[in-house]
């Protein structure tokens, strides 16, 4: 096998090793962006679309607390999960929020609400967040 892509015959030879290198780099790139984004989306919640919403600051991600509000249309009931903890009674979440605020004064509540939620359910959640002493609030929305 001739090096440098040319043999004695003058015809360039197909180099397999650099091609594999490029392929693997591309593969790792697409794997990383896919997995990084998919993990953030809760499949049970259909986020409302907002093309002009701001991108979340990665520096603040450690201060973020996800509040998932899922709407069950059959039961006409909202289910609230905070950091994967279920709160059937929203009043119980107040002490949890107060503790979180005490541990991290910069904490930001990210409301991930289903797009079919009635506004009153979001307002209830906001009231509880306010009672918990958390002022910074974000409404999560999908880009498409």
């Amino acid at each position: 096998m001739a090096g440098g892509g040319g043999g004695d015959s003058g015809e360039p030879e197909f180099q397999i090793a650099p091609m594999i290198d490029v392929l693997l780099v591309l593969l790792i790139f697409f794997m990383s962006i896919t997995s990084a984004e998919v993990l953030k989306v809760d499949k049970n919640i259909v986020l409302p679309v907002s093309p002009n919403a701001k991108k979340r600051d990665p520096e603040f991600s450690k201060h973020e607390m996800a509040i998932n509000v899922r709407w069950n249309a059959k039961e006409s009931k909202a289910y609230v999960n905070v950091d994967d903890r279920k709160f059937p009674d929203l009043a119980l979440a107040v002490t949890y929020f107060q503790e979180k605020k005490k541990n991290d004064p910069q904490i930001r509540a990210v409301i991930r609400g289903d797009k079919s939620l009635p506004a009153i359910e979001i307002q209830r959640v906001m009231n509880i967040i306010g009672e918990g002493g958390i002022a910074d609030l974000s409404f999560a929305a999908s880009n498409k």
Binding site: A53, L117, G133, D136
Partner: protein, 150 residues
């Protein structure tokens, strides 16, 4: 001189096969390329809850208050004026009106304070549409209120 005679090569060549590996890598890469196109990025509208914002100085000018009402059917009212249709996803009329109000407030060196009054059964999606229009108009001072405006 004894000639070393080679045995007939009945052994299977177990060497590394590059062609199937490239096939597999191609298929995996195509999968991730397609998945990357369908990825949903999660963005956010940031705000602060009313009553918790600390006042920095005592001589803060009084803000120009704007009320946006969202009805159950999705119709949006800006200070009691209906704008856009209830079905329209993009609230262009609302965004342009808000932008004008913001520009006039900037000219008079006052701030715009928008209060969103969403009816109980109004869809949360519509609230986000209104927040989207506020982002287009570059208005960040937003509060929420339950029930109808006084």
């Amino acid at each position: 001189m004894k000639r070393s005679r080679k045995k007939p090569t009945a052994e299977v060549n177990l060497g590394f096969q590059i062609a199937p590996m490239i096939d597999v890598v191609f298929v995996i890469m195509l999968y991730f390329m397609v998945m990357a196109g369908a990825v949903q990025v999660e963005n956010a509208h940031n705000t602060k809850l009313p009553g918790t914002v600390q006042v920095e100085s005592s001589d803060t000018p009084m803000p120009d208050e704007i009320a946006i009402r969202i009805e159950d059917d999705g119709q949006v009212y800006l200070n009691d004026d209906p704008l856009d249709t209830a079905e329209a996803k993009l609230l262009n009329e609302l965004a342009s009106n808000l932008n004008q109000l913001r520009e006039s407030s900037d000219a008079s060196r006052s701030e715009v304070l928008v209060t969103i009054y969403a009816n109980e059964q109004a869809k949360y999606e519509r609230v986000i549409d209104v927040l989207d229009a506020l982002t287009i108009a570059k208005i960040t001072n937003v509060t929420f209120q339950a029930g109808a405006p006084e």
